[in-house]
C-alpha cells in the first residue's frame, strides 16, 4: 500500500503504472541523479501530497500547473529518483523555474524541508544536464560578473554613466532596447539608477563602537550589495557602532556564494564559503552580521554545504551559528542610541530569504517600530515572492516580471509613503515597477536616519519632483 515510486526506490514490490521510457534496471539506482547527495528519500517521503503549499508558490500562481508547484516538484524528485522520468527539458525546466523563495517551506504543515531538497537537485542538474550554449554563456556571464565587486564596479559605473547620459532613453527611442534578447533586457532594466557616491563608496575595515563597546561584529560587505548599495553598508556600520558594536569589515572578503549555491553551482559555492569562513575566523568576531537576506540564509547553511569537508565541517557549523541578519542582531541586543521621529507609513515587504528561509518576520518590523511616529504596514499576499529571487529575474525574466508587477500592485494598495525591505534583489526588483515617487529603503537606512535625526521620507517627498538623489536607494 505504498506509492509505487516508493516501492521502486526501496526495491520493494509492484511498481507504478508502466509507462514508456521507464526502465526497470534503474529502479535500484538513484535514477536520474548521481550518487553525490541526491535529494534524500526520507525528506521526499515527508511530503504527504496535501497541496497546502500550492497557493503560496509563485510559479503555481502564475502557471496554475501542478508540475510547477512545490508538490509537483517534490513528486518529480521522487519520480526522478526512481528513474521513472528522464532528466529532460521538462524536468530541468521545472526546477529552473523554481524561485527558491521557500514560501513552500513556511506553508507546509508536514515540515517538508524543500530548501534542502531543491539545493540537492540543483547541483545534480548542473552536473548531469547539458544546457544549451546560449543558456550556458548567459549563466557564465552572470557568475563572472555579479560576485566580483571589482568587475561589477566599473560595469556599474558605466551603467550609471549610461543612465545619466540618457543613453537608455536613446536606446528605447530607437527601438534598439526592445530588440535586446529578453534576458539582457532584463539586466538592463534592473540596473538601479545609482548615485555615484554609492558606486564609489568604500567600506572602512574597522569602525569603533560609539561609547563603550558591548559587542564585536563582523560585517559582510557583500558583492552586488557592496557596489549597488554601498549606502546600506554605510548605514549598517553607523547604526551598529551607535548601538555599541565594534564593526569589522574584513578586507579580502568576497561573495558569500549565495548566488552560486541557489543556482546549483556547488563547487563555486563551496570555494566561496571556505574563503569567507577563513576571512571571518581571522577577524575574530562574536557575530557575523549580514544585511542581505539571500546572503544570510546561505551563510546559515554553510554547515550543510560543507558537511563532507573534514577540514571545514566543524568550522562551518560554528560559523553558521554566528550569522545574524542585521535586524535580528539589533532586536537581540536592544536599542541604546536615541531614535528621532520619522512621521510616515512604510510598507514592509518580507524578503523570501529572510521570512521563509530564515523565519525572520518579527524582528525587522520590531526594529522599524522602534522609530517614533513610523507606522509599519503589512502588504497583502505577503508570502508571495516578488520575482527577484537571486538570479531568477535574470534567467527567467518573463515570470519574474509578472511577479514583480503583481507584488507592486499589492504594495500600492496600502498607500505607503515608502517601501522597506531587507534584500538587495527585492529592492532592485520592486524599484523597477514601483512609481518613482515612492522611495525604497533597507530597514537599516531608516534606523540610521532616525538615529541621525534626518527624515529621508519627507525629504524625498519634497524633492520627488526634482531628480536629485537622496539618502535612500536613489530613485
Amino acid at each position: 500500500m505504498t506509492a509505487a515510486p516508493d516501492a521502486a526506490t526501496e526495491g520493494g514490490h509492484d511498481s507504478g503504472p508502466v509507462t514508456a521510457g521507464m526502465q526497470a534496471e534503474q529502479l535500484t539506482t538513484t535514477g536520474v541523479f548521481d550518487v553525490l547527495h541526491p535529494p534524500s528519500g526520507e525528506l521526499i517521503d515527508d511530503c504527504v501530497h496535501c497541496g497546502f503549499c500550492l497557493p503560496t508558490c509563485p510559479t503555481y500562481l502564475l502557471e496554475g500547473n501542478e508540475t510547477n508547484s512545490p508538490r509537483g516538484r517534490i513528486y518529480l524528485m521522487k519520480m526522478g529518483k526512481a528513474g521513472e522520468v528522464p532528466m529532460d527539458e521538462e524536468f530541468v525546466g521545472n526546477f529552473d523555474a523554481c524561485l527558491g523563495c521557500m514560501a513552500c517551506v513556511t506553508s507546509c504543515p508536514s515540515g517538508v524541508k524543500y530548501d534542502q531538497l531543491i539545493e540537492a537537485v540543483r547541483p545534480q542538474i548542473e552536473r548531469n544536464w547539458e544546457r544549451t550554449r546560449a543558456d550556458r554563456l548567459f549563466r557564465t556571464m552572470i557568475f563572472s560578473l555579479f560576485p566580483y565587486p571589482a568587475r561589477l564596479r566599473p560595469a556599474a559605473f558605466f551603467g550609471t554613466l549610461y543612465q545619466r547620459l540618457g543613453l537608455r532613453r536613446l536606446l528605447a527611442a530607437t527601438g534598439l532596447l526592445a530588440r535586446l534578447p529578453a534576458r539582457l533586457r532584463a539586466m538592463e532594466a534592473l540596473l538601479p539608477q545609482l548615485s555615484l557616491s554609492s558606486v564609489v563608496a568604500r567600506q572602512p575595515v574597522f569602525t569603533p563602537a560609539v561609547g563603550t563597546s558591548r559587542h564585536r561584529v563582523g560585517l559582510l560587505s557583500g558583492c552586488v550589495q557592496r557596489v549597488f548599495f554601498g549606502d546600506v553598508n554605510a548605514a549598517a556600520t553607523r547604526v551598529l557602532a551607535a548601538e555599541g558594536c565594534d564593526v569589522v569589515a574584513p578586507k579580502g572578503q568576497q561573495c558569500c556564494g549565495a548566488l552560486s549555491s541557489h543556482a546549483g553551482r556547488e563547487e563555486e559555492a563551496i570555494a566561496r564559503a571556505r574563503r569567507l569562513i577563513d576571512v571571518f575566523e581571522a577577524a575574530d568576531v562574536q557575530t557575523v552580521v549580514v544585511n542581505v537576506a539571500g546572503c544570510g540564509s546561505s551563510m546559515k547553511e554553510y554547515a550543510i554545504l560543507l558537511r563532507d569537508d573534514p577540514a571545514y565541517a566543524e568550522r562551518a557549523a560554528a560559523f553558521s551559528a554566528k550569522v545574524r541578519d542585521v535586524s535580528e542582531l539589533l532586536a537581540e541586543i536592544g536599542p541604546v542610541a536615541t531614535r528621532h521621529p520619522i512621521p510616515a507609513k512604510v510598507a514592509y515587504h518580507d524578503a523570501c530569504h529572510l521570512a521563509h528561509a530564515q523565519g525572520i518576520r518579527a524582528q525587522p518590523r520590531a526594529v522599524l517600530r522602534g522609530i517614533p511616529q513610523l507606522s509599519v504596514l503589512d502588504i497583502p499576499e505577503a508570502e508571495i515572492c516578488c520575482g527577484s529571487a537571486g538570479i531568477y529575474n535574470l534567467v527567467q525574466p518573463e515570470p519574474a516580471e509578472r511577479l514583480g508587477r503583481r507584488k507592486v500592485e499589492q504594495i500600492v494598495t496600502t498607500l505607503p509613503d515608502a517601501v522597506v525591505t531587507s534584500n538587495a534583489g527585492c529592492l532592485l526588483q520592486i524599484r523597477r515597477y514601483l512609481d518613482a515617487g515612492v522611495p525604497l529603503f533597507h530597514p537599516i537606512q531608516l534606523v540610521d536616519a532616525s538615529i541621525r535625526g534626518v527624515d529621508p521620507i519627507s525629504s524625498s517627498r519634497a524633492v520627488a519632483t526634482s531628480s536629485a538623489p537622496t539618502a535612500s536607494i536613489p530613485t
Binding site: 500500500m1 505504498t2 506509492a3 509505487a4 515510486p5 516508493d6 526501496e10 509492484d14 507504478g16 503504472p17 508502466v18 509507462t19 514508456a20 521510457g21 521526499i44 517521503d45 515527508d46 511530503c47 504527504v48 501530497h49 496535501c50 497541496g51 497546502f52 500550492l54 497557493p55 503555481y60 496554475g64 500547473n65 501542478e66 508540475t67 508538490r71 509537483g72 517534490i74 513528486y75 518529480l76 521522487k78 519520480m79 521513472e84 522520468v85 528522464p86 529532460d88 521538462e90 524536468f91 521545472n94 506553508s107 507546509c108 504543515p109 508536514s110 515540515g111
Partner: protein, 513 residues
C-alpha cells in the same frame, strides 16, 4: 510520500469496468494523441500538456495510493474553452476528469488512463461581487479562502470551511459538497450556492439555480453538488455570503477520556445550544498538531474539545457560560479561552493542520472519514480501540464531534511488511463500522475511487441503480469521471459484500436509508 488510499495502482489495462462507468465503444489508445493535436490547434498550445514528465505529476490527488497517468492535461481558461475540450472528448469518446487543486482525499480527481484531465486551476477570477445581496460569482479554480478574503473587509464570509480551505477550490468543494468544522451550524457547500454554470458531458452549457432562493422544478443545483465531477463541470459558481457574526467565543477543554468529552458534547446539544463548531482531538492527534503548529494544546491530556459559539453577543455569551458549566460538569480538567482573534486563529490553525501534520508522528497513515449518529460515539470509540489493538496499529482521532463525523487516522509504516495491508483493512473496517452504527462511509471526503467498493454496504442495488439513472441522464456515455462513486467488479473484485438488512433494521429498531 504517505499514502492514504488503497494499494491499488490502476494501470491502463486495469480500468474500471462496464458501462455506464466506461465508454466501451470508445477511446482507442491513440485517441489521446489525435485529441492533443486538435486541442493545441483550437486552444493556445500552453493549455495542453502531453509530455510524460509533467503528466506524471497529475497522476494522483490528495491520496497517492491510486495513480493513473492521463493521456493529456488541458488547462482551459474560460467556460468556452472547457466546453471546447469536453466537446472534443465527447466526439472522440475519450473520458475526462475535472481537477481543482487536487486535495481530494478519495481519489475523486484520479485520472482515467488514456483520458483527459481538465484542470480548472487557471480559472480563478472573481467575476462579480454583489455586497448588497451578499453573493459573489467566481470561477471554479478560486480557492475557498480567497472567496472570503475578497469580501472580508465588508464583514462577509463564505461559510463552508474545510481544513484545506486555503488550497482547495470552490469547484472541488461543489463536487464533494465539502464542509468543515463549522458545518454543524452553517451546513455544507450545498447550503451556500445560489447558482452554477455547468458544462455537461455533451458540451452544452447550462445554468442551474439562479438569483432567487427558490427555483422552478427539480433542484438540479442540489443534485450536481456532491456528485464528484461525474455529472458536470462547474465553470462559474455564485455563492451565498454570510454576515460575520457579532461575537465569536472559543474554548479548548481538556478531558481525561474521549468518553467524558463526548458527554460534554451531548450535554451541550441537550441544552439546546447549537455551537458553531465542536471538534475533538485525542492525545495522538494533539501530539501531531503541536509538533506542526505549536498552538498550545495540552500534551498530557487524553482528549481535547474545541468548542466555538458565535452569533449575537448576548446569545453567544449566555450560551458560552452554559458550555463552560457543562464541560466542567463532564469533568473537564483544564479550560483555555481564546483571549483574542489571534489566539482563536492559532487554535484553529492547530486543528486544521491535523491531517497533514500526521507526517510528524508516523511515516504513513490513512485518513478515514466515517459518520455515526453522535450519540453512539462512546460505543464506536471502544470498538475502534479493540479493532486497532487487534491490528496492532495506532489510530489517532480528530473529529467533528458535533455532527458525528469521525476522522480516525490509521498510522502505519509502509516499510514494515504487512503493516500497510493491515492499516488499509482497519481503515475500511472502521468506515463500515460507521454504517453498521447507522451512519455513513463518508461525511465530507466523498466516495471517489477509494470508497466505491464500500457503497454496497450502505446502499442496495436498487439505490445504486436509480442513482445511475441520474448519471445516465447527464452523461449517457459515461465519459465524465468514470470509475468513481459506483463499485465496479474490476476495481472491487469480490469485495463489495451484498447489501444485507441489518438485524436491528429487520426488527424495526433502526433504519438505513
Amino acid at each position: 510520500m504517505e499514502d492514504r488510499g488503497t494499494v491499488t495502482v490502476l494501470t491502463p489495462t486495469d480500468q474500471p469496468g462496464p458501462a455506464p462507468e466506461t465508454p466501451t465503444h470508445l477511446s482507442p489508445p491513440t485517441a489521446g494523441a489525435a485529441l492533443a493535436d486538435q486541442l493545441r490547434a483550437q486552444l493556445a498550445p500552453d493549455r495542453i500538456i502531453t509530455d510524460l514528465t509533467r503528466l506524471r505529476t497529475y497522476e494522483c490527488d490528495g491520496i497517492t495510493g491510486y495513480r493513473v497517468v492521463p493521456a493529456l492535461v488541458a488547462l482551459p481558461e474560460s467556460t468556452d474553452e472547457v466546453a471546447l475540450v469536453v466537446a472534443a472528448c465527447a466526439r472522440a469518446g475519450v473520458p475526462y476528469v475535472a481537477r481543482g487543486a487536487g486535495t481530494g482525499l478519495s481519489g475523486g480527481a484520479l485520472p482515467v488512463a488514456d483520458g483527459v484531465v481538465i484542470s480548472l486551476a487557471r480559472m480563478r477570477r472573481v467575476l462579480d461581487v454583489d455586497l448588497v445581496n451578499q453573493r459573489m460569482t467566481v470561477e471554479p479554480g478560486v480557492t475557498n479562502s480567497d472567496i472570503t478574503k475578497a469580501v472580508a473587509a465588508h464583514d462577509l464570509y463564505f461559510a463552508p470551511d474545510p481544513s484545506s480551505q486555503t488550497v482547495c477550490t470552490i469547484g472541488g468543494n461543489i463536487a464533494e459538497n465539502s464542509g468543515g468544522a463549522h458545518c454543524m451550524k452553517y451546513g455544507f457547500t450545498t447550503n451556500h450556492v445560489h447558482a452554477m454554470t455547468l458544462v455537461l458531458p455533451d458540451a452544452s452549457v447550462v445554468t442551474v439555480g439562479g438569483d432567487g432562493a427558490e427555483q422552478v422544478g427539480p433542484d438540479l443545483r442540489g443534485a450536481v453538488i456532491g456528485s464528484e465531477g461525474t455529472l458536470a463541470i462547474a465553470t462559474s459558481v455564485t455563492v451565498r455570503l454570510l454576515r460575520k457574526p457579532e461575537a465569536v467565543r472559543t474554548l479548548v477543554a481538556d478531558f481525561a477520556s474521549a468518553e467524558a468529552a463526548g458527554e460534554a458534547v451531548s450535554g451541550i446539544i441537550a441544552a439546546g445550544i447549537i455551537p458553531a463548531a465542536v471538534e475533538m482531538l485525542d492525545a495522538l492527534a494533539i501530539e501531531a498538531c503541536e509538533a506542526a503548529v505549536h498552538a498550545g494544546y495540552s500534551l498530557d491530556t487524553a482528549a481535547a474539545l474545541v468548542v466555538e459559539l458565535d452569533g449575537p453577543t448576548a446569545e453567544c455569551d449566555e450560551g458560552f457560560a452554559r458550555v463552560e458549566e457543562i464541560c466542567l460538569e463532564a469533568g473537564a480538567t483544564h479550560l483555555r479561552f481564546a483571549a483574542d482573534p489571534d489566539e482563536r486563529m492559532l487554535i484553529w490553525k492547530g486543528r486544521k493542520a491535523a491531517f497533514a501534520a500526521m507526517g510528524r508522528i508516523s511515516p504513513d497513515y490513512f485518513v478515514q472519514d466515517g459518520v455515526i449518529p453522535r450519540t453512539r460515539l462512546g460505543e464506536v470509540l471502544a470498538r475502534m480501540q479493540v479493532m486497532a489493538d487487534d491490528a496492532g496499529l495506532r489510530v489517532a482521532n480528530v473529529f467533528h464531534a458535533g455532527d458525528g463525523n469521525l476522522h480516525p487516522l490509521v498510522l502505519y509504516d509502509a516499510a514494515v511488511p504487512g503493516e500497510s495491508e493491515r492499516g488499509e483493512h482497519l481503515s475500511t473496517a472502521i468506515a463500515e463500522l460507521c454504517v453498521e452504527m447507522g451512519g455513513s462511509i463518508t461525511g465530507e471526503h466523498g466516495v471517489g475511487t477509494d470508497k466505491a467498493c464500500s457503497m454496497p454496504k450502505m446502499f442496495s442495488e436498487d439505490d445504486l441503480a436509480v442513482m445511475k439513472r441520474l448519471r445516465a441522464a447527464f452523461d449517457p456515455d459515461g465519459i465524465s469521471n468514470p470509475g468513481k462513486i459506483f463499485p465496479t467488479p474490476r476495481l472491487c473484485g469480490e469485495r463489495p459484500g451484498p447489501y444485507r438488512v441489518h438485524p436491528l433494521e429487520a426488527a424495526g429498531l433502526i433504519e438505513r436509508m
